[in-house]
């Protein structure tokens, strides 16, 4: 069997790792030396698809068909709050699929976020295959701890489209804790915080680690706060300065904006280490007289921090709430683990120390630590390693509809999987002929706010006054979040059952259709991404994240 890789499918960047021969997780590096792959996918007018750094560069020239942040949409309804927020912000169109899911529209075609993510996963898979020199078909993929069943399943579906069997979905903070070796410290129960400030999102998780068992106690965060916001602040400052000096509005010049964005990111990285750096942007644009604007400016860390002060303040409320939710005082935390490149920023580390009273642990590369944890768990699943066991939990209450729109919880959230819960229900009217049990997931007492999972109907109930006929409901959820429901009438033993696979919004038929369509596109081009003799076919010297068959430059 092939090796199982660990994939961190991020909002802005993705990363892949695998256990090496010594059982140590190791990041797989793309041929061009990149250790992470931007989660960007770009469609050219011709339908050719680019992924990664090149796709991100195309955002300037082709913003409407260059998709990023698919993770914000995957498995979501278009009317969800943060989806609408993202829709207002994104330069591409976000549309509603017939079932209400959020899709994107690219060159007039609606495309599911699963499919967008699958392109990223395929690129990641390709990096792994090139680095390992063998085909890769199985992976452990990480998702944020707050992802619901639909989002998790949609992520699995993205894997399937990319030709990857996602054998386990893992929570990101758990993966990070595993990679940091939080379970190796041998003492009773320990509380840790995982502070994840990435490119586009901020997540804080409070976890407990005990005898190799990880448990996420609470999560919080701000899905609209990330390292890119820091860059944007400086970028806005440059725009202002250029306007003051030259009366030129750079916001209307995509190429300038793109260059500034990259320069600001570089400056931020430099300032994480140094006290000051210089932003140089020669020939940024032309002034009103047609003369070139050569922008050059020295920037200090103090100024950068000044510009982004309010962003730092936005970190505080989610942290406080996560601690409260977990019932944990900052002093109880034994360790704070850092995830995401933005946690390298000194002010962020200072904030953590101030707020949580702990110097954050810096033992690992925050960009890669989640993928490393996923690889470590892949090793455990493959039987190559034995050190820890992660326990997945049900992310939401699972229950049934009672009365008109009431919700009765049968399986509370945070139940360790696999799990089985039983509950007895009685008929509500005399001589009731059947019961129809509708299953919902969610925390709200108001049924309409919860997500319907499916239903099971038990008919031919024995006659009797209301409340005399009893039905036992058994809900089982397995490690892969597959839900089986059995309803059994106690007296007659008559039963009905249904197995509900969590739905990510795409039906199995739709997924197969996407795969087939891809295959046809491939054969139209005349090449199938296949292995000959187990070795990877490398078409060009330069590694490209796009599929070679789809990139005209590489068809040689």
């Amino acid at each position: 069997m092939s090796r199982i890789i660990g994939i961190d499918l991020g909002t802005t960047n993705s990363c892949v790792a695998v256990l090496d021969e010594k059982g140590v997780p190791r990041t797989l590096v793309a041929a061009d030396g990149e250790r992470t792959i931007p989660s960007w996918v770009s469609w050219a007018q011709t339908g050719q698809i680019t992924v990664g750094t090149r796709a991100r560069r195309q955002a300037v020239t082709n913003p409407a068909a260059t998709i990023y942040g698919a993770k914000r949409l995957i498995g979501r309804k278009v009317n969800a709050d943060d989806v609408s927020w993202f829709a207002r912000l994104a330069p591409f169109r976000i549309v509603a699929a017939p079932n209400g899911d959020a899709w994107v529209r690219v060159n007039g075609q609606p495309i599911s976020p699963q499919e967008v993510a699958s392109h990223v996963l395929r690129a990641v898979r390709k990096v792994a295959e090139q680095a390992l020199g063998e085909p890769v078909t199985r992976a452990v993929v990480t998702v944020p701890a707050y992802f619901d069943e639909a989002q998790r399943q949609a992520t699995r579906d993205a894997g399937q489209i990319a030709g990857i069997d996602v054998i386990r979905i893992l929570n990101e903070p758990t993966a990070a804790a595993l990679a940091y070796g939080a379970h190796r410290v041998r003492q009773g129960r320990r509380l840790i915080a995982v502070f994840d400030l990435g490119g586009g999102t901020f997540d804080i998780s409070i976890m407990s680690v005990d005898h190799g068992i990880f448990e996420v106690l609470s999560t919080g965060g701000d899905s609209a706060l990330g390292g890119e916001d820091w860059d944007r602040r400086v970028q806005e400052r440059i725009v202002d300065e250029v306007f003051d000096q030259y009366r030129v509005d750079l916001t209307g010049i995509p190429m300038a904006m793109s260059r500034m964005r990259e320069a600001c990111e570089q400056a931020k990285k430099a300032l994480s280490v140094d006290r000051e750096t210089t932003i140089q942007l020669p020939f940024l644009a032309n002034d009103q007289h047609g003369a070139p604007i050569n922008y050059e400016r020295m920037i200090t860390r103090e100024l950068f921090e000044e510009l982004t002060k309010d962003l730092l303040e936005r970190l505080e409320p989610p942290v406080t709430r996560a601690l409260l939710d977990a019932g944990v005082a900052p002093g109880d935390l034994e360790e704070v683990l850092l995830v995401g490149g933005m946690t390298r920023w000194p002010a962020v580390q200072d904030f953590i120390e101030r707020k949580l009273g702990k110097k954050p642990s810096k033992g690992a590369n925050p960009d890669e630590v989640v993928a490393l944890g996923a690889a470590a768990y892949a090793g455990i699943l493959a039987g190559e390693s034995d050190e820890a066991q992660l326990l997945d939990v049900t992310p939401h209450d699972i229950g049934i509809r009672v009365g008109d729109s009431g919700f009765a919880t049968v399986l509370p959230r945070n139940s360790m999987l696999p799990v089985r819960a039983k509950r007895l229900f009685a008929t509500t009217s005399d001589n009731q002929k059947f019961v129809s049990i509708e299953l919902y997931q969610g925390e709200s007492q108001d049924l309409t706010k919860n997500r319907k999972l499916g239903q099971v109907t038990l008919d031919d109930l024995p006659p009797g006054p209301a409340g005399s006929v009893r039905v036992e409901l058994v809900i089982t959820v397995d490690v892969e979040a597959m839900l089986s429901v059995t309803a059994r009438e106690i007296r007659t033993g008559r039963e009905a059952s249904v197995t509900i696979r969590p739905s990510g919004g795409l039906s199995q038929r739709e997924i197969v259709e996407i795969i087939n369509r891809r295959r046809q596109e491939h054969s139209a081009v005349g090449k199938l991404p296949q292995f000959e003799g187990g070795a990877m076919r490398v078409t060009t010297r330069e590694y490209a994240i796009a599929r070679p068959d789809e990139d005209p430059d590489e068809k040689k």
Binding site: I167, H211, L381, G383, Q389, L391, M416, P418, R420
Partner: protein, 449 residues
Amino acid sequence: MATGALSIKLKCASWQQLSTIYKRDLMRGAMFLKASTPPAVGTQVRIDLTLPSGTVIVLTGTVEQHVTDPQRGSGVELKLAPIPAGTIWMIESALTAEQGKKRAQSPANAGVPVAPLPATQSGPVPAIGAGEDLAAAETDLVRALVAEAESLKKLNPFLVLGIGYEANDNDVRAAFGELTKRYHPDRFARYESTELRNVAAEIFILIRDAYRRVCDDASRTQVLTSLGRPSGAPRAIPTPTTMRATPPHGVPRPGGVAKIPPSQIPPITRVPDRTTPLPQQAQPSSIPTTRVHEQATKKPEPLPGRHEGNDNTTKKPEPLNAEKRPTGTSPPPGSVRPATGSPAPVAETGEHGALEDMLDQGRFDEALSAYRMLSKKNPNDRTLRAGIELCEGLAALAQRDRLEAAQRFEAALEIDPSNERAARELAEMRRQATNERKGLLSRLMGKKE
């Protein structure tokens, strides 16, 4: 007695013998040596162990203590220096290979490691050896797991987790963590069979439910109350052996791990003070370390509703001295039987305690004759009849006859479903069987456990 280094040559005539030595001694890093004139404690010993194949394995160790093993007579307990992994591997692979050969010849002749258990024996044990059919090994493992799930279903949460009734939060979590690492379906993800994962999930659900029922003080109290056990017992007693030194006051349980003020003992378990002195003797080496927790849970537990009509017999006063002394409880010198006012109506729970002490010390024959005698007097007492089966089972287990042992324990449970010890032994045996099969399957697949 020599004080210098001692050199001993041992020859294993059969693989069976090697397997016994390996399981009983080497695996726990110690060894029992029979000696009429035992060398002094601290003596260095070098053992040249010749395997049936002719290979010689050198073991070194020091004499740790002098012991009198009821099964094997008097001798010394050696603490062995760590055995090199290579040596272990050699022994293990020799045993596995040999076992495979034997199985092919006759299943009944199978070596010790994978003896069939009653619940799993729906026919001859499939031949499973290195290089042989994976599927057979897998089926075998599934059956072992199913059997284990069945036995776990009969146990209370404490027994499922293998913890004492006095366990604290940390003990519970540690036990849960260990079992999770062993039974979580993810631990079976490496095998092809989905059935394996499903059965493992069943077991994990049992473990998980048990954990949830006893994971904090309040819930433990509740469970203990429902079991008819006193709760709120002080629990500053980490090891059974240290407790043994402290004569318990009002503790009906022989292991006496928890001290329970008499006032807290609920009626159902109320018995006069324990009348048997606690042995000061160290644990005999024949009791596997895996059964440490048993110390805590000795008394056959009168679960509510389990004793249809037999309740009175379990509490029937019983003249104790008559039976006790002759059966050779032989209290250590200096210990005094506490006066209980009137010695005649000593409740037999105290007696059970004494009997189980015997079992703890491996004096199965003595315990057996005691149980037989008692049973003759009270032919209606199920607990005693179950006790007979239990003794037979433990004796069989000591002889490494696991098939016999498992059958005996099952019989004991059939007679008296509340016989905790039989339930626990059975669960433990099944757990071992599962582990061995899992290990075997992993080896067949070329993966490490």
